[in-house]
Subunit: 356 residues, 2 copies
């Protein structure tokens, strides 16, 4: 029995409470500066308002103002903030962590210094705190299935295999399976860019809906669960986009210093498979596929977090810089550049013959 | 303008008539020995009974008894029989083809001499007719979308790149895109074994349906288009199975002599993506996932062609032989061996911890 302290009480951070407590651990769930109402609900009723269910026993909620009480005797810290909260976490949370602590990062992201190179969140945090042992999990994980204790299988990575194995020892259950690896760049790069390519695969469904006369921002039938008899979901388009995504992801992982074979595993094809079939990034792809402009989509979706937008821009920028240096050819990334153009409010059509 | 002669008037063979005639070619569609009623319908009404629509102009039907009339001046022959008709094609059709003819093979399959090695259909036909230039297409192609002139992108392979390029020149249109390669073994191996792994990915949906109380052979909601609100389709299971499928497909392609990177393209991940979301092999996987035995499934499905069954048995047998010779470890193929056990009427449960 250990103490696991999760900082960031969003859906994904909080969901880790299930395998953690099922393994007999105590969980301290610390809200971020944006989570006070979540923590208040949990303190009053035990119910997580976004997950819409009671948290397991042995989960103890803390406001961010109470973080100091949540630190002592912690075996594993978990960073559960969104990619937009990384800087906040680095400056407001990292200073509290004890020397040589183990921090597991759930946050996906690739950071850019506009020099053609991209850095993982682990790298970013280690610049602030070189003493920490940092690990991460990445791969296909829909929260509602994890907290339903349905099988979920993810990669866990760290620079040292022993750190990744320590994480596995703490969190692995008969429904939550962690596969340790030291390919930090490969895993983190793949899980970040899969958000871009999930938009790409979902374009196909939007193109099919456009063909069926749907050109506004209404929900898709796959979202409403409505009858879809007679509708052709353009499977051949989807498959062509899926294959091109895998090919470009391999090239990107290699370019940024990971092992491209990660793309055939959980963090690549596995995560892309599940991400492109739903969620916010899939919705963005569908609306782009229907022919809506980014401006129309932003108006329709409102204030929703779309990780794929900054990731796509950063990756496309980095590829352009590396191409200028002659290290890579832009011809290898037709889908990435198409998506970047659409997201950057520029007209673009897919040149299918450039695929492969 | 050339003459393209398709032998085998099933759905896939006949569907090639669309890009062929759109490119200005004349198509001679020759029924196999099992297609007399199909040809009769086309001769009388122009309608293909399985595709349920009129064939394009410039498609001329021939009974198999009329094959000699369909041969002269043909630029490209197409083998459109199912994998169960390969031997018939080799002995009854190949002798009619002119010296050095170009034969494009649509039939997927891997043939076994029970020695741990598997042979492609191209290899098999070349043993009968070493003079022929044989090519093949493989990849995600749902017939109804191709004949609807919706985008379809496939690999085309031949031992000589010029043969694959000749095929592309004849059939490539603005909706049917062919990507030439000389990796015949890689493409043919990937497209054959994806049938096995499509069964594997579809297990997840069956497991989800079983959890929801469905343990008989009724159609899934994805087949009927019915309302699926509130149903959890086990996306995390699906993604774990999809990733494991890609990993094992890489190992198999390498073992049988192809380039494993083909698995990240159209013939691998792309084809698996579309095949696992529907069709007969997907249905087999769903019913196995619900816990039905092979005997129950065969009774429920009746006399339906399941390419995945012989392919799975052959591939598993070959892997066992190669493992006995110390060339590969069985531990690398937990999903293949699980599927082989289920198909071979043996009880088996998935050991998720063996994945990776």
């Amino acid at each position: 029995m250990s103490i696991i302290t999760i900082i960031g009480a969003g859906m994904m951070g909080s969901a880790i409470s299930w395998p953690a407590t099922d393994n007999g651990h105590i969980v301290r769930l610390v809200g971020s500066n944006l989570n006070d109402s979540v923590i208040e609900s949990i303190k009053k009723t035990g119910i997580h308002p976004a997950l819409k269910c009671k948290l397991p026993e042995n989960v103890f909620p803390f406001y961010f103002s109470e973080i100091k009480e949540a630190i002592p005797d912690t075996e594993l810290f978990v960073c559960g903030v969104s990619s937009f909260g990384l800087e906040w976490f680095a400056t407001e949370v990292l200073p509290f962590l004890p020397q040589d602590a183990h921090l597991m990062v759930l946050t996906k992201g690739l950071l850019s210094n506009h020099d053609g190179y991209l850095h993982t969140t682990l790298h970013y945090f280690n610049e602030y705190r070189p003493d920490l042992n940092i690990s991460a999990v990445g791969g296909p994980c829909i929260c509602s299935e994890l907290i339903g204790r349905h099988l979920t299988m993810v990669s866990c990575c760290a620079a040292e295999l022993s750190t990744a194995q320590h994480l596995k020892a703490l969190l692995n259950t008969n429904y939550y399976h962690l596969q340790p690896t030291t390919d930090v760049i490969g895993v983190e790069c793949a899980v970040a860019i899969k958000n871009t390519y999930a938009v790409g695969v979902a374009l196909a469904l939007g193109m099919a809906e456009r063909e069926a006369g749907i050109t506004d921002a209404r929900p898709s039938s796959w979202q409403t669960g409505a009858d879809t008899t007679g509708f052709t979901p353009y499977y051949n388009h989807q498959a062509a986009l899926f294959a091109q995504s895998c090919l470009e992801m391999r090239r990107l992982v290699r370019l940024f210093g990971g092992n491209e074979d990660v793309v055939s595993g959980l963090a690549g094809a596995g995560d892309l498979y599940v991400t492109s079939q739903g969620g916010r990034n899939g919705r963005l792809g569908v609306l782009l596929g229907r022919g809506l402009s980014m401006a129309q989509i932003q108006e329709a979706l409102g204030d929703v977090t779309l990780e794929s937008v900054p990731i796509t821009k950063r990756v496309a920028e980095a590829v352009r810089i590396r191409a200028k240096h002659g290290e890579v050819s832009l011809k290898q990334f037709p889908l990435l550049l198409h998506l970047d153009a659409l997201i950057s409010h520029q007209p673009s059509t897919i040149d299918w013959e450039s695929f492969g």
